[in-house]
């Protein structure tokens, strides 16, 4: 059982999908089954948490089989601290996305849930693959269901948004494929056999120049997915047009594929290029522009959902800034912030979904004083908003703080500029809250809105609990992350922990197996 655990986690949604296709057309049956399948996906992933051994170097639960020997591609899955968090985020958000589609989607329900389950398999596959070819298959597999989720069940400009999403990400990923192939061929020239194994490819020695080319090829693929600043324009469109659950998954998990790509592939495979001063400088500046620009654009939005969409650009800027700080704090903070962003932005999109189902508008000016009509809604929105704004004792604070600490260690100016993002973030979120929830009810239509029902509250509760857990006691998360983060930093800056030791505690406990869980 243990040696196939990852395959089970990966294939459970797919199995759910196959059964779903055989079910009769009854709406309730389909809904219940889809939710059960997602829940099963979550339950089978739970043993990962309990059996994961903190502090053990390398990957756990590894599975490896030959797949296409002619190409050197393997079916190779494995899990480390970073992927553990990502997989758990995916399975949890999977359940919640299903739950929040319950009444929102009535049209072509079977195809809708089928697409979600396929998407789920694709995303889990991305986070588990240790073979570049396998990774690429899953990476692209995600595009098609997402295209349909936006394009079929989306808003008025859904087709434009869907194809824009598809074209952007596909153009990026095929260029990334060229980078992968270059690396693959370099490895062949040095070792005489073709392989896509990450661990083998890591042994490839490449000139700095070649590394930089490959780095930029990877960068295009990952940066479009994140999305980093100049490549972000697909995101607001996709978010605004997607159905609620689509936005939730898109923000919570799909974007993380990009940042995960940087951490799993760009940094370890191309350490010299990643550590190159000018490259790091460019990427950090792009991240900071993303942070500030995203936040400023948020202040201007009239559309509730677009505001949250742009806030993603800003928050993901923090995540990439953390990565390119290239120190333990930056990277650990970045991974944690990715989880945080999944939780808090996921909640914000669900909040919008709840109100949109009732009023069918997302114009901020249509609302006001909702606290009088929907007290439960107001409380939950407040928590989501504060978690996103980085209030201490909620999750966002921990992530942003650690990232800023890392950025400060790397370059004080980065931290100084990035901090404005935190302030602006609080500004646009609080202002949004004020305009929609506080004050008197200005629009008569809002007087009769029913408050959230049990299902709607229930789908927020796990996320709220998770947000508070990270905010109050983030240690388990940092413990899980310590080992993989140490490995990445050691790879990019060999001898980092021996020379100057900004965080000696992190490095020392990192090598002890079975740490402080």
């Amino acid at each position: 059982m243990d040696q196939h655990l990852l395959s089970i986690v990966l294939l459970t949604p797919l199995a759910g999908l196959l059964v779903l296709l055989l079910l009769p057309g009854n709406k309730t049956v389909i809904r219940v089954w889809a939710n059960l399948a997602a829940l099963a996906g979550f339950l089978v992933s739970l043993p990962l948490v309990f059996r994961f051994q903190t502090g053990v170097p390398g990957f756990q639960f590894e599975e490896r089989a030959d797949w296409i020997p002619s190409l050197g591609a393997h079916y190779h899955l494995g899990l480390d601290g970073i992927s553990l968090l990502m997989v758990m985020l995916t399975t949890v958000m999977g359940v919640i996305a299903m739950l929040c589609s319950w009444s929102a989607v009535q049209d072509r329900m079977k195809s809708y849930y089928a697409m979600f389950l396929l998407l789920q398999t694709g995303m889990i596959g991305v986070f588990l693959s240790l073979d570049f070819f396998l990774f690429y298959i899953f990476w692209e597999l995600v595009l098609v269901p997402m295209y349909f989720i936006i394009g079929v069940w989306g808003g008025p400009r859904k087709l434009y948004a869907a194809i824009k999403f598809f074209l952007y990400t596909l153009a990026g990923s095929v260029l990334m494929l060229l980078g992968i192939l270059t690396l693959y061929f370099q490895h062949f020239q040095q070792f005489g056999f073709y392989t896509f194994e990450i661990s083998d490819l890591m042994k490839t020695a490449m000139s700095l120049n070649m590394q930089e080319w490959v780095f930029w090829a990877f960068f295009i693929g990952f940066a479009i997915k994140v999305p980093m600043f100049p490549f972000h324009t697909w995101l607001p469109d996709a978010h605004v047009e997607a159905p609620t659950a689509g936005s939730v998954i898109l923000a919570a998990v799909l974007l993380k594929m990009g940042t995960y790509g940087f951490l799993r592939f760009s940094l370890p495979l191309l350490p010299q290029a990643s550590a190159d001063r000018s490259i790091v400088q460019i990427l950090a500046v792009l991240s900071i522009i993303g942070i500030i620009y995203g936040a400023l654009v948020c202040l201007m939005q009239k559309d509730w959902k677009k505001l949250v969409a742009y806030s993603s650009v800003s928050h993901l800027g923090f995540c990439t800034l953390g990565i390119f700080s290239m120190n333990p704090n930056g990277i650990a903070g970045s991974v944690l912030q990715q989880v945080n962003h999944g939780i808090s932005t996921g909640m914000l999109f669900m909040v919008i979904g709840v109100i949109y189902e009732r009023r069918h508008t997302r114009e901020i000016s249509e609302y006001g004083g909702l606290a009088h009509v929907m007290p439960r809604f107001a409380i939950i929105f407040a928590i989501a908003m504060l978690s996103s704004a980085g209030l201490p004792l909620l999750n966002g604070f921990v992530g942003e703080f650690t990232i800023l600490q890392g950025a400060f260690e790397a370059n004080r100016w980065w931290a100084a500029f990035a901090v404005t993002g935190v302030i602006l973030g609080a500004a646009y979120l609080l202002w949004l809250y004020q305009r929609t929830i506080l004050g008197q009810v200005t629009n008569g239509k809002n007087l009769t809105i029913p408050d959230m029902n049990f299902r709607e509250v229930a789908m927020f509760l796990p996320l709220i609990a998770w947000a508070i857990w990270i905010g109050v006691y983030p240690k388990p998360f940092f413990d899980v992350l310590r080992q993989p983060v140490t490995e990445i930093v050691e790879r990019v800056h060999p001898g980092y922990f021996n020379a100057s030791q900004p965080q000696p505690a992190l490095a020392q406990t990192g090598t002890q197996p079975g740490g402080a869980r």
């Binding site: 797949w67 296409i68 020997p69 002619s70 190409l71 072509r108 195809s111 690429y136 298959i137 692209e140 597999l141 595009l143 098609v144 295209y147 349909f148 394009g151 079929v152 859904k158 087709l159 194809i163 598809f166 074209l167 596909l170 153009a171 095929v174 260029l175 494929l177 060229l178 192939l181 270059t182 693959y184 061929f185």
Partner: protein, 493 residues
């Protein structure tokens, strides 16, 4: 005496082609002697299946022979060469012909032009293709080419009462004859250089001359024009959209898949391997072909964007696929040539599949090839829509479908050949292709049903769709045996 003219080995080497020709003639005779009643035409279909059965048997026997004796079977004083390469391609032709024949019955009934000679034309064309893949002599190759082309000229114009079909046939005939002229001119120059029509002799002679020898250059250019016309590469692609759109859709499917594969087999025979006359002067033609490939991808992809007729859109897309396949030839390394073969193999299934759906859209009095005809297909017949989605995703080269592997090999070979610019262009066009393939997807899945008539389904159609759909997915998910097959059939000797 007769032994030296026509030995058992000779006979064995062309056995599949003999079967095709024999059954082709038999169908012609039976059509008006034995089965004059139109309702008996299904027997003709059974003849086709039988013919393909015997052909397949011949191919299997040839495979055994080659596995046992190794290398290649050369016959008729070296004018025919059976090797892994020819067998690989002949399987592709066989699959394409069989699938097309299976769905033609219903199609031609609905189009009101069901005549027995159609089936013999399919077999004759396949017979011509056999010699394109097997020939090792200029004359053999040319006869194969003309046999294939003539059959197609007739088939393209098979809908006699439709103006489009007649126009298409005439265009195809005129341009095809013109390009054949170029090809034969090149052949005559080659013959003039070498004093022989045998490919091996010509290859040796060309190799002994300087690379930029003007006569060789002349032969190269004229031959290439003929070849590029056949594979529908720009700027010799003008016939393709019209011929594809006007022809009966079954013929379009056959033309776009089998004829293209045969022409590429022909092209490889002349450009790669020890038999190839032009293999020695790679440095001369590689840049030319690179430019042609880029123009072909550009024309195909950009013209496809605005098409409102699905058939025409697929015609342009098939032009752009020819560009990709040419890139494999340009790269010219092992990956490139394997890539050409893999690409053609997956293309056979996915492109046939896409056309099959269009064929099912042809009903009595409904042509069914406009974008409107396919709109809302998901609501009307979800099975067809999902299959079409798989074929389109595969054509667009998105994993986990077969089409990805074709593109993958092409990119791989370009990287290995250090052709980074070409690789980047090819990848960016892959993104453009998404746009127009997904216009069809959008129409099927998002738009409303405009045409309520049910699809024209038949048993043959179900079988054909199942085969192409399953193969498109299987090659995509577990490609190993198929890649091995293509690798083994590399043109080495």
């Amino acid at each position: 005496m007769i032994d030296s003219l026509y030995s058992a080995q000779d006979h064995f080497s062309i056995l599949p082609a003999l079967m095709l020709a024999l059954f082709g003639c038999a169908i012609l005779l039976f059509d008006f002697w034995v089965f004059p009643d139109p309702r008996q035409r299904k027997w003709l279909l059974i003849f086709v299946v039988l013919a393909e059965g015997f052909t397949g048997f011949g191919l299997v026997k040839q495979m055994h022979w080659i596995a046992g004796n190794g290398g290649a079977l050369s016959a008729f004083n070296g004018s025919v060469q059976v090797d892994q390469f020819s067998i690989f391609f002949n399987w592709l032709f066989l699959i394409a012909a069989l699938i097309v024949a299976l769905v033609s019955y219903q199609y031609l009934e609905n189009a009101g032009e069901h005549h027995g000679e159609y089936y013999s034309l399919i077999l004759f064309a396949q017979c011509g293709m056999y010699f394109l893949a097997t020939g090792a002599d200029l004359v053999t190759l040319f006869i194969g080419l003309e046999l294939m082309a003539l059959s197609f000229y007739v088939m393209v114009g098979f809908l006699r009462s439709e103006k489009r079909s007649n126009e298409a046939a005439l265009k195809y005939l005129l341009l095809g004859a013109f390009s054949s002229g170029f090809l034969v001119y090149g052949f005559s120059v080659l013959y003039g250089i070498a004093g022989s029509t045998n490919l091996r002799t010509i290859a040796d002679t060309v190799a002994s001359r300087p690379a930029w020898d003007p006569m060789v250059y002349l032969a190269l250019i004229t031959t290439s024009v003929g070849l590029l016309f056949k594979v529908a590469a720009a700027p010799f692609h003008m016939w393709a959209p019209d011929a594809y759109e006007g022809a009966p859709t079954t013929v379009t499917a056959y033309l776009s898949v089998a004829s293209k594969a045969a022409s590429f087999a022909f092209l490889l025979r002349l450009f790669y391997g020890q038999l190839a006359p032009f293999a020695a002067i790679r440095e001369v033609w590689a840049p030319i072909l690179a430019v042609i490939a880029v123009i072909t991808m550009t024309v195909g992809n950009l013209a496809a964007i605005n098409q409102t007729n699905v058939k025409r859109l697929l015609a342009y897309s098939s032009i752009s696929h020819a560009g990709y396949i040419l890139l494999g030839v340009v790269a010219g390394n092992e990956q490139g040539i394997t890539g050409v073969e893999v690409y053609l193999m997956v293309y056979t299934f996915m492109n046939l599949g896409a056309f099959l759906v269009l064929i099912a859209l042809r009903r009595q009095k409904i042509i069914g090839d406009e974008m409107d005809d396919i709109s809302g297909l998901m609501k009307k017949s979800p099975g067809y829509a999902v299959l079409m989605l798989i074929f389109l995703i595969s054509l667009a080269g998105i994993p986990p479908t077969a089409g990805f592997l074709g593109k993958y090999y092409i990119f791989w070979s370009l990287i290995e050949a250090h052709q980074y610019t070409l690789a980047v262009i090819a990848t960016l066009y892959a993104a453009v292709a998404i746009y127009y393939y997904f216009r069809i997807v959008k129409s099927m899945f998002v738009s409303d049903v405009k045409d309520k008539e049910p699809m024209a389904t038949s048993f043959g159609m179900r079988v054909a769709l199942a085969v192409s759909g399953v193969m498109t997915l299987v090659i995509g998910i577990y490609p190993e045996p198929f890649l091995k097959l293509a690798q083994n059939s590399l043109l080495l000797r």
